[in-house]
Symmetry: C2
Subunit: 241 residues, 2 copies
DNA sequence: CGAACCCTTGATGGCGATCAAACGCCGTGG
DNA sequence: CCACGGCGTTTGATCGCCATCAAGGGTTCG
């Protein structure tokens, strides 16, 4: 199950913006030193404060990144495949700031931190790709922080729905990637209030049935949620850190 | 006033982590192509949405970076000298996400974005420094977002005071860098509530007189504010993006 | 069938925003 | 010198968003 990445998975990983431009031989070297591993759901992969020993690439499944403090917990990000995560901790050689937990059964490529740091130093194209990934991830977080400070919860939800729709097939119908409890935490609200917010969005062109969401009146939703300046970069095929 | 950086300023800028490790000749080239410019207070340097045409290095003065949306404004960061800012926008060649405004009279080194991007491509040490800066800046933002989601306003204030003290000379006495109105916005609260929060912190070992802050009982303040896992990296001489 | 678990709905309470007004500080101009 | 106005800060009163507490319905799984 580990030791060498199985052939079938490689193309999808190699096509990630992070690995796309680098030297083929170096990429092989990275993959040869990495492990593809399967994890059951609800398993903690690592905790905040631990030394960052692997760059993670989610190949299949779903991951929650959360932070805690003062007895509380909040989910910082929900990682969907195929995406790398915790690049920043690996690059800066610092402890994780977030805890990672599988939500669904997941397969993850584990790239030893020392290995990826070494190859980054050797391969300029990879270093440049890393730099760009970090810059885009930084900008995503600026948007997230502004979102949290400027909008109230139902507006954040509305924007999340618009964003999630755009990220998916694009037209007006999609499913929430994870349970509503988790979504609530991601949006900085309680499950109870997420439930209320979802029903209140019915007045703004959104209908929900279980995890199925349909945007019936995009103009109305946009008028309410004001996606404004906070829209995500739309680089083709891009995945976050 | 511009064209070539005045000799007196160079050492301090060259010592920034961003420029410290790079090739001397390349650094000269960057500085030769840049402009050191003075700005009056309360002047908008650029607005969110504009094309990012300069990397900025604050040499002297004070800058506010703010974001807006839905009729509201919030300050995202207060930049103190000597520090570069908006590296991420320049690296990713995307529009600014934030608006920059001088608070005090300021002198800023303006490095043309195309120039710095070109030299980054040519100089591996600079690229690596940029990568590290972005990674650390990313982690700062993770902390800021977790702070906003996990703590209530008086706790955020308490942590800000601890952090600001640590960043300064270190022991228990310092001045707020900018007016309280601005600080309130940075912390995601109103000036009224900042005022109340400051007086409530008297019960936790803090005394305030105007802009002068004194931490009389650090243990009590830490017990209240729980700096926990969110503590900033303490790399010597490090400055944020 | 029962036990979790998730989601929903309702009732209550607290944190913080908003509204309003007074105080201190400071630069201007009479 | 003092009067005046502007601005930032403080203090008080009220309101609204959202968290918390509580309970009920639906689904899944042992």
């Amino acid at each position: 199950m580990n030791g060498i990445v199985r052939i079938g998975e490689k193309p999808e990983i190699a096509r990630l913006p992070l690995f796309r431009e680098m030297d083929d031989a170096k990429r092989e070297r990275v993959f040869a030193g990495s492990f593809l591993q399967a994890f059951p759901p609800r398993l903690t992969l690592f905790e905040a404060g631990q030394y960052a020993d692997f760059l993670h690439v989610l190949v299949d499944g779903l991951i929650e990144l959360s932070a805690s403090g003062g007895g509380r917990d909040t989910t910082m990000r929900i990682v969907e495949p195929v995406t790398s995560f915790i690049l920043a901790a690996v690059v800066s050689d610092q402890p994780y700031l977030m805890t990672a937990r599988t939500i669904e059964p997941s397969r993850i490529l584990l790239v030893p931190a020392a290995l990826i740091r070494e190859v980054i130093r050797q391969d300029t194209a990879l270093m440049q790709a890393t730099m760009r990934e970090l810059a885009l991830a930084y900008r995503d977080l600026v948007r997230a922080l502004a979102d949290m400070k400027l909008r109230q919860s139902a507006e954040r939800l509305g924007n999340y729905l618009l964003q999630q729709d755009a990220r998916g097939s694009g037209q007006a119908r999609f499913e929430l990637p994870a349970g509503k409890r988790l979504l609530a935490s991601l949006l900085g609200m309680t499950p109870e209030n997420l439930s209320r917010a979802l029903s209140s969005l019915a007045q703004h062109g959104v209908s929900v049935c279980g995890a199925r969401v349909q945007i019936n009146d995009r103009a109305a939703l946009e008028a309410y949620a004001r996606p404004d300046l906070l829209q995500a970069e739309a680089e083709v095929g891009r995945k976050q850190v």
